[in-house]
Symmetry: C3
Subunit: 113 residues, 3 copies
C-alpha cells in the first residue's frame, strides 16, 4: 500500500442521530473527507449465546491510512457501543482528482487538527 492511500471505512451505528453526530464530527475534524449515511439496515449477530438482530445505520467513511488511527480513536470516543464495528477496506484504484481531494480534505496542515 502506498505511504498515504485512501481507505473506505465501514462502521455501524445504532440510529440516525448517532450516525449524523459521528459523520459530522469526522468531517469537521478532517478525519474523513466525506461520510455516507446509508439507509437503515437489519443486523444479525450472536449476543450472549443467542442469535439476535437489531436495526442499525451503516456509515461509509472515506479517509486515508495516515488518518486512520485518529479516526478510529474519534469514533470510539463518540460511539455508544463498547466495541463498535470499524473496518477499513483498501482502495486500489480511483479517479485521481477524487483521490487527491480525499488526501487534501484530511490533511493536517490545512486544519491543524
Amino acid at each position: 500500500m502506498q505511504p498515504n492511500s485512501v481507505l473506505l471505512v465501514v462502521c455501524n451505528t445504532p440510529d440516525a442521530d448517532t450516525a449524523r453526530k459521528i459523520a459530522s464530527a469526522l468531517v469537521e475534524r478532517r478525519l474523513a473527507a466525506c461520510v455516507n449515511i446509508l439507509a437503515p439496515c437489519q443486523s444479525v449477530y450472536r449476543w450472549q449465546g443467542e442469535v439476535e438482530d437489531s436495526s442499525e445505520v451503516p456509515l461509509l467513511i472515506k479517509t486515508t491510512t495516515a488518518r486512520y488511527g485518529a479516526l478510529e480513536a474519534a469514533i470510539c470516543a463518540l460511539h455508544p457501543y463498547e466495541v463498535p464495528e470499524i473496518i477499513a477496506l483498501p482502495v486500489s484504484h480511483g479517479l485521481p482528482d477524487y483521490m487527491s481531494w480525499v488526501l487534501a480534505e484530511t490533511s493536517h496542515h490545512e486544519a491543524g487538527h
Copy 2:
C-alpha cells in the same frame, strides 16, 4: 494477507426473506460474526442478451479468510440462484477488539461446526 484475517463479503439475495434466512444461518453456524441486511436495492445486469433490472437485498457479511470456503459453500446451498454473487473484500485495518471479536465468533473450537 495475514494467516487468518477479516473479510467483508458482499452477497445479493432476491428478497428480504431469503436475506434473513441466509444471514441467520451464517451466524448460527459461526460462519459469520455478523451480517447486515441492507435496504433493498435495484440491480442492473445483462440477462440472455438484454439489459434488465430487478430488486435485490444486499448482505454485508463479516467473516475470516479461514472460514471463507465453508461460508461460500453454505451460501450456495441456501441461495436460490444457480450462481449467486459472493465476493470478498480484504480488511486492511480495523479496531483490534472488533477484529478479535470477529475471529472469536467464527472460530471452530468454540462451536464444533
Copy 3:
C-alpha cells in the same frame, strides 16, 4: 493482484435518475457486469469551508482491473459532478463461477466495445 481481477467500484450519484442512467450505460457497454443502485443515503462533506450534507444514491459496480480505465472515463462523461467519487476495492476471494461471469460479461471480444 492477478492480471485481470474483479473490482467492486463505489460511486455516488445525485439522484435515482442519474444512478439508473449510469448503471444502464455501464452494463450496456460491458464496462460492468452488474450494478447495484442502493437506497438513497445522506452524504456529509465540506464544501467551500462549511460542513454540508445532501442526499445521494450510491452505486456498487462489479467490473475488472482490465476495464477500470474505460469505466472511469465513461462515468466521468456521464456524471454531472466535476469530480465524482469513483473508488475501487480489490476482491480477494469470490465464488469462482461468479468471478468468471464478471470477467466474461465485461470482456471486449464479445462486444467489440
